[in-house]
């Protein structure tokens, strides 16, 4: 509809001009059409014909002349914009050739009706042409899924084959328990170095190390917060050396030293008292002694004398009591633990509910 309107508008202008010309030539005043009446010079013909709406075609000749003067002395040297090349793009074109690398948003090359920015009052956001907001934001027009697929296919030659024996994560972890993590950085600055690239993170599951109970406890004590109890993973982050390689070597060195240190038993470790224990152990504790004592006395009062301590320990009630005490001591006084403790004590002492 717009095109039609423009056409008719123009036709109207032509008619008007023709009439006036006819009048002039009859009067013998002028035999050539005045320059002002020409809709446009051929050079910027396009701008005047198609993108300027019909209304502006009706502006007077004087106005047109003024606009020519404004734009420069020689309108021929004034360049007009070519139509955006999106108009000529095929529907099935290869997009990765249009945006092969990272580039700012180019409105004439992106065939999408995008709008962005603060909308005018009761209007819509500005269109893409000459829109700074669209240039400012990062775009990923060069990293469309087909482009990435192409890149991956092309880069396949640089990859080595994955060992077929390592077909699951468990196997990977089993055969290669130590995980090293490094990060490379890129930027378009003058330097290709980034200080953060030297950081090396080393992870290992403690269960994969050959540690006995003592060694493990000692190791956990030595590494402190670097050990995660829930996942059983020891994480060592090294960044004190200037190079990544040095940090890696240092991390491996730390792990080796920790391992050997935890296997050693120093003389003073025998002085470890109950307060130094990492966790509550019921066996040989005072609680066990008291419980057995009480039970034996109960048995004695009931004239059952042939009960040994071992039998008592193996009994269900004692085991229950042990578990609940351990839970209470190691996990803290939660409601569940308390009620479990209550039940086990009742059972132990044979108190009817």
């Amino acid at each position: 509809m717009a095109a039609r309107a423009g056409l008719w508008g123009r036709a109207g202008l032509w008619c008007g001009e023709g009439l006036s010309l006819a009048g002039l030539s009859r009067a013998g005043l002028c035999c050539r059409p005045g320059p002002g009446g020409v809709p446009a010079a051929p050079c910027w013909g396009r701008a005047a014909y198609s993108s300027v709406p019909a209304v502006s075609d009706r502006e007077g000749p004087q106005q047109r002349e003024a606009s020519i003067r404004r734009r420069g002395r020689t309108p021929q040297s004034v360049r007009s914009s070519a139509p955006p090349r999106t108009e000529r793009m095929a529907v099935d074109q290869d997009w990765s050739s249009v945006y092969p690398t990272a580039a700012a948003f180019k409105p004439a090359s992106v065939p999408l009706p995008i709008r962005m920015g603060y909308p005018v009052k009761r209007g819509v956001p500005p269109p893409k042409e000459g829109n700074l907001e669209l240039i400012k934001i990062p775009n990923f027009l060069h990293l469309t899924p087909p482009a990435i697929k192409k890149h991956c296919a092309a880069l396949k030659d640089f990859c080595t084959e994955w060992p077929s024996a390592l077909d699951s994560d468990e196997k990977c972890e089993k055969h290669f328990p130590i995980e090293i993590e490094t990060v490379d950085y890129v930027s378009s600055g003058t330097s290709i170095r980034n200080p953060k690239a030297r950081v090396v993170t080393l992870r290992v599951k403690l269960s994969n190390l050959n540690l006995d109970d003592h060694a493990k406890k000692k190791l956990v004590k030595l590494v402190g917060e670097r050990y995660c109890r829930e996942t059983d993973v020891l994480t060592i982050v090294t960044d004190r050396c200037p190079l990544r390689r040095q940090n890696y070597d240092y991390g491996m060195h730390l792990l080796t030293v920790l391992y050997h240190e935890s296997w050693k038993t120093e003389k003073w470790e025998s002085e470890k008292s109950e307060e130094d224990m990492e966790e509550y152990i019921w066996e040989n504790s005072r609680s066990q002694k008291n419980a057995l004592d009480t039970l034996l006395r109960i048995k004695a009062s009931e004239n059952v004398s042939d009960v040994t301590e071992d039998e008592l320990l193996a009994s269900e009630a004692v085991k229950n009591y042990r578990n609940s005490v351990i839970a209470l001591k190691n996990e803290g006084e939660t409601e569940g633990n308390m009620s479990q403790y209550k039940e086990s004590v009742k059972k132990l002492l044979n108190i009817p509910a």
Partner: protein, 682 residues
């Protein structure tokens, strides 16, 4: 990365590498196992599965391999201009002249930057780049050693200061300081290379040449090419009699083969061919041996030294026999020089060229593109040549290989070969050639100018020989991204459209022509108009044609102060009127009719009939009366018939009838002949 544009402050995590190391030292040693042997006893994994894991060897590749592979995934974008230009509708070049200008300006900007860096190195003392990029840092161009000594001379030679070196040399000779032969020889090298002119002017010229060769292939073949071009096309400094080089050569106490060779090469390069030959005779008299480059230069000079074809060839042969006697092994450039000489030997060339190529094969020298270029020129350039199938053999060879630049003339091959295909009118050969050009890095041989020439020839051939659908497909593929059509290409395309009867595409072509800036080419406009106005088309097409006609009309009208409007010719005016009339734009058509009178042209009967038809359709009796008036005032024989038609076909008011009656007949001649032709038409 788009975010990377923000600058150095914004780093992106490129690669998050996480790998696993094994704890146990197995039978093979792995990457991380050396550091974990200390934990050897750690994990007790089963030895059986251990053996199965075969870690692949690490692959290595050169630094550019990944980038090149990624680049290979990108194809040409048919709607974009060359990658060097700004991808913006305002800044993109529109036609060949524009694109040349823009690439030149881009290069000159680069040169300006280089100039600043070279001349003001004191402002570029910081190395921002990490690691440093030496080629971006300013070079030291001022001589460091002071005084007059051999050291100072050597340094100036190294810095290519021609004048200063000569001055120091003269001072040294006057002071009686003995100079080593090597230093003098290197001074001669410098003088002969620059033809005894200061190297800065050379630099500027070099810069100019740089401009003509856009980025890719420029660096690879720049140096030798320039040297050779200088040698044969007399551009650059000429060899003057008794210049510094000759003077120094004469006062040299002792001369070795190198001094002679340098002089010969310098003389050939700067156009003193006869002198070079004399110098060569001197060299032989002194019982020295020339090197292969000298012989190459001499062979290139051979066609200029002699007049007759046979003499030229004899001289070339003489040089070749001398080479054999002096046991100089010929190289590719020798044979190319021989073939180039044979180009200027007429019939002798044709008979000998294949023998030369055979000899190359015998010596196991792989021909370069220049070899084939010379061959094609020998066999296809010139008049009345017997037909030969050598081009298809050449194409067989070219298709097999990917070429690297070896000879400065390599770059000419594809344009020459395409020209030959055009002359032979063989589209199949052209397709084969094009395939060969797109293979590997062969496209690098075409620089901006040659690229345009190559593709416009190819396109003309396509228009001539191919189906219109194929032509249009190629046109769409090539038009802005590979070349900018010349006016001749457009004419060819129009002819092809005409032959295939697909005139409805013309408005689209006209849009392109407007973009290309050919709206002021008279011959093009006439072709457009005559094709559009020849037949009657459906209404929609006629409307589109009328729009084109409007543009063409605008081109004929005064626009700017400095531009002279195009002259109307009778046929263009008539065609525009016909187009307006067929589109039903009576007013526009009448405006054009009036121009006939103003420009003193005579409308044909066909034009007037069309106009009358139009007036009848739009019911404008006024216009038809005006037409009759016009015809009468011009004294046309057909005016009577027009008048009668007007009376018959229009419902005229009384006043109009009176006006019609009152028209005076200037030429009261009979219109018998015109009525005959009219009766045919109606």
């Amino acid at each position: 990365m788009a975010a990377g544009r923000a600058g150095a402050g914004c780093w992106q995590r490129a690669l998050w590498l996480s790998r696993r190391c094994r704890l146990q030292a197995g039978p093979e040693s792995y990457r991380c196992s050396s550091s974990s042997t200390a934990l050897g006893k750690a994990v007790d994994s089963s030895e059986v599965t251990e053996e199965e894991i075969v870690l692949p060897r690490r692959k290595t590749w050169n630094k550019l391999a990944v980038l090149q592979t990624l680049a290979s995934t990108v194809n040409r974008d048919p709607t974009a201009a060359h990658y060097m230009f700004q991808d913006d509708p305002f800044l993109m070049p529109r036609n060949a002249a524009n694109s040349r200008l823009y690439s030149l300006s881009k290069e000159s900007g680069r040169n300006a930057a280089k100039y600043i860096v070279k001349n003001f190195p004191q402002y570029f003392d910081k190395t921002f780049a990490e690691p440093n990029v030496p080629c971006l840092m300013p070079e030291t161009l001022t001589p460091q050693t002071e005084g007059v000594s051999e050291e100072a001379l050597k340094e100036r030679i190294k810095l290519r200061r021609v004048k200063e070196s000569v001055d120091i040399f003269d001072q040294l000779v006057q002071a009686g300081t003995p100079l080593s032969l090597e230093t003098t020889n290197s001074l001669l090298d410098l003088l002969c290379f620059y033809g005894d002119e200061e190297s800065t002017s050379e630099n500027e010229e070099e810069a100019k040449k740089d401009l003509e060769e856009p980025g890719v292939n420029a660096s690879e073949e720049k140096a030798p090419k320039r040297q050779f071009q200088r040698g044969l096309q007399s551009s650059g400094p000429r060899w003057r009699d008794n210049n510094h080089a000759e003077r120094i050569f004469k006062i040299m106490p002792e001369r070795n083969a190198h001094s002679y060779c340098t002089m010969i090469r310098g003389m050939v390069k700067h156009g003193a061919f006869a002198k070079a030959y004399d110098m060569y005779i001197d060299l032989l008299n002194e019982r020295h041996k020339a090197d292969v480059h000298t012989f190459n230069a001499l062979i290139r000079a051979a066609p200029i030294l002699k007049e007759k074809f046979t003499e030229r060839w004899e001289l070339t042969k003489e040089f070749l026999t001398h080479m054999a006697q002096q046991e100089v092994q010929p190289n590719l450039l020798t044979f190319n020089a021989v073939l180039k000489a044979l180009r200027r030997c007429g019939g002798v060339g044709r008979s000998m060229a294949l023998l030369v190529v055979k000899e190359m094969e015998a010596l196991d020298i792989e021909p370069s593109l220049a070899t084939y270029d010379h061959l094609l020129s020998i066999f296809y350039r010139g008049v009345d040549l017997p037909p030969s199938g050598i081009i298809s053999e050449v194409l067989d060879e070219v298709e097999k290989r990917s070429f690297t630049p070896q000879d400065p003339d390599d770059a000419n091959f594809f344009s020459t070969a395409m020209q030959v295909c055009c002359d032979l009118k063989d589209i199949k050969l052209a397709y084969r050639l094009n395939k060969g050009m797109e293979k590997g890095d062969n496209w690098k041989f075409l620089d901006m100018d040659r690229l345009n020439g190559y593709w416009s020839k190819f396109f003309s051939l396509l228009c001539m020989m191919e189906q219109i659908e194929v032509v249009l497909k190629w046109y769409k593929e090539m038009s802005p991204s590979l070349f900018y059509p010349t006016p001749k290409n457009i004419l060819d395309l129009l002819q092809a459209l005409d032959a295939a009867n697909q005139l409805e595409v013309i408005p689209a072509v006209w849009e392109d022509v407007k973009q290309l800036g050919f709206t002021r080419r008279q011959e093009l406009l006439e072709e457009f108009l005559s094709l559009m106005s020849r037949d009657q088309h459906p209404d929609e097409i006629q409307l589109a044609f009328a729009k084109c006609a409007e543009d063409i009309k605008a081109a004929h009208e005064p626009a700017g102060r400095e531009q002279v409007p195009l002259e109307w010719t009778g046929s263009t005016l008539g065609n525009v009127v016909v187009l307006f009339s067929r589109a039903g734009r009576t007013q526009d058509a009448w405006n054009m009719m009036e121009l006939f009178q103003q420009t003193n042209r005579i409308p044909t009967d066909k034009v007037m009939n069309e106009f009358l038809n139009c007036a009848k359709q739009t019911n404008c009796p006024e216009e038809s009366i005006k037409l009759v008036k016009l015809a009468a005032s011009l004294g046309l024989p057909s005016s009577h018939r027009l008048k009668s038609r007007t009376e018959e076909e229009f419902e005229l008011s009384e006043i109009q009838k009176k006006t019609l009656e009152s028209i005076k007949w200037d030429g009261d001649s009979s219109d018998s002949d015109s009525s005959d032709s009219d009766s045919d038409r109606e």
